[in-house]
Subunit: 233 residues, 4 copies
């Protein structure tokens, strides 16, 4: 009765994540391929290759960001087991922002060297803010009164995610505001936030409530599987 | 005996939907990446970024359209549980029109500002008409005498979809005709239609037959799962 | 014990098919998008749109060809249930030729109007020949002494596929030879062959051995499922 | 209790592999498509087609390399059945290097004709070294004290993989060093290494320890399934 209904939603989302994560590699140019026959000497090729660094940086940043978003998506759908039309639409909205990420990331990687320019950082942090709102909306909708969660979803794990997600839009709003004033600060805060969301909610929970550790001594294996974040029931 | 046979058809379709839905993001240019080293000041970059709006609009429209089509595909294959060669071929024909959608959508987004020009709207509504016919053909073929549906497919849910799909090709034919006369009207009707097909057939059913509500008071959980549209058995 | 081991091979292949089938849509240009602001009048836009027909034809042909190849792949893996390293390598070789198909197809669509030119048809039929050999190799390897087939694989269905595949490489070799002499004839034979492989082996079997019909009157449901080609156990 | 938790990780990875493996086919140009109407005669078309050979070689090499990497990934995840956040992050790092492979491969294919130039070979072998380290890290992390392996993972098969992977980074480090001195030698060693990792660990094991053959006479069917490398439990 509590069969997983989200199979196709996950398969479709995985496909979209997979395409989005590889997009920026298309922008890395292979020197000389467009002018076959004219090969560069080592001395000339190295500078050309090293001149590709902004696109390499953009590719790596975008890959990392989308990778962490996939990790979060995966983590939510460990608990979400049912679907309805609104969840499918919220998921599509989330994917819309995720596929868009390579664009502001490439822009940011390029303008990173000029801390006095704000446009790139504003577009980037704005996209992150939108994405954080989508993730929150999806999770709030699904977890509200356990609407679409599994019957034996671990309430500790569910609450840990809800607590972790509480700060998402607010902190991204702050980085968005910061981008208008201080570009480097807003970017550094963005990366710390990405790291924060890459960590499982369980480990953050431990950090935050180390005083209430009496509770966590009696974690059952099922509980552990749930909070480990990466596990799939 | 009533095992789901459509697993690979769905996986392949999900992959095609995933690639098609991300295609238009490739058309959004990142200013300055092709001319590295020459960075624009904020004052100059904003107009360049805002000048990208037709491609952004095209990306969003195309994403929404294909997303809703995926939702419909998902909804049909909750009930379709068997496959044969003709269903596979009809599904391929449907995917052919879906992968094509980004092309007329980008054209439409661009020519949207000129209501006196008809070509873009004609190509767009024509593609929608073709897609509606493919969806109808697929569903009629599969649901005819429950040919490829599951054994315990809910007849209410099946009939609700059949009723919703009855109007598809006809209304799209009207928007197609309208495109030759009045471009803005045809586009507005197209978007209302997309919204109409995004809604689950069940809720439409409720709207349409609110008088026959005596029937729907005894909806069993299984029935609800079936008509919710987004659920997957 | 006879659990399906080919899940990941099929998922990966589906992904590759999905990307390959959408590739040629990237070549269809949207007029005016590269020169924003400069919109064409209806009178000027129609010829530009109609001028895209070679790429539209290439997209449709390539989509159809790869779609039929997916159908065949699907049909073989109804019966193949086990994997080993050699099968995985043969499958990769097959995917290598399938991803390549859009290239000769686009070339063929372009040179179709010039029946006196042979190069495009030679490259196209050569690719088809390679693909037919890969499909044959894969099937011969897997079906040899039921090496990788399921325990209760239907011998009738397996033999029907083997018979259908027997003519593949030979007939494609003939079309390849024909391409050097008579371009239109070789293309027409190619399309008839594609149609032939789109049909399930069962129906061909019926056509071929209508005299031995006494046998097929006692087809069990399991047998039917197997020979229907599109079914997945 | 020992249920496979890695389903979504594998589905997402398959998607990324599928996109990466098709990327280089996008670089193969179809002569004349950009200048419609101007068709070349056979005499002129053949040299143009044959002039595409560096991109064809790059496509084939990159497809083979990524295909073999997929095979290895598949082989590891026969045994890995659980996930945690660190495994997901290590897998993302591995995918980052795999999506990047088409870039140095295309560069290498182009500069292959000039054995006196080292840059391309250095970038290529450097990427291979990074990939070998990622594969090793992933496997060491998962197999350490059977951390994420299935309960009844075959210790022989697990050890065989560990032994095979022991030499990976070291030998790739040697080819990387060789690339600075002797380009052709480093490329040849790279291809032999790729072949080495395409072979199942079991067969290598047999080659290496043919003296200790007394052990392998009592291989159980379960053991065989595990070491066959391509099987999926």
């Amino acid at each position: 009765m509590d069969e997983k209904e989200t199979g196709r939603l996950e398969a479709f989302s995985d496909g979209v994540f997979a395409v989005a994560i590889t997009l920026l590699v298309l922008n890395i140019r292979i020197p000389g391929l467009d002018t076959p026959g004219k090969l560069l000497s080592d001395k000339d090729l190295w500078p050309v290759l090293l001149g590709e660094w902004p696109m390499l940086a953009a590719y790596t940043t975008s890959f990392t960001t989308i990778g962490i978003m996939w990790l979060n998506h995966h983590r939510l759908f460990v608990h979400i087991r049912h679907t309805d039309t609104i969840l499918l639409l919220l998921n599509l909205l989330l994917l819309l922002t995720i596929v868009f990420i390579p664009v502001p990331t490439a822009l940011l990687a390029e303008y990173f060297v000029r801390p006095d320019l704000h446009a790139a950082a504003i577009v980037y942090t704005g996209t992150c803010l939108g994405m954080a709102c989508c993730f929150n909306g999806l999770w709030r909708y699904a977890s509200y009164h356990n609407r679409l969660l599994g019957k034996n979803a671990n309430p500790h794990a569910v609450n840990a995610i809800s607590r972790q997600y509480l700060f998402g839009p607010l902190t991204y709003l702050i980085t968005f505001g910061l981008a208008w004033v201080n570009t480097p600060a807003s970017i550094i805060v963005s990366f710390i936030l990405a790291l924060f969301f890459a960590l499982p909610s369980h480990s953050l929970d431990l950090l935050a409530s180390s005083s209430a550790s009496a509770d966590s001594t009696e974690v059952s294996p099922a509980d552990r599987a749930g909070t480990a974040g990466g596990s799939e029931g």
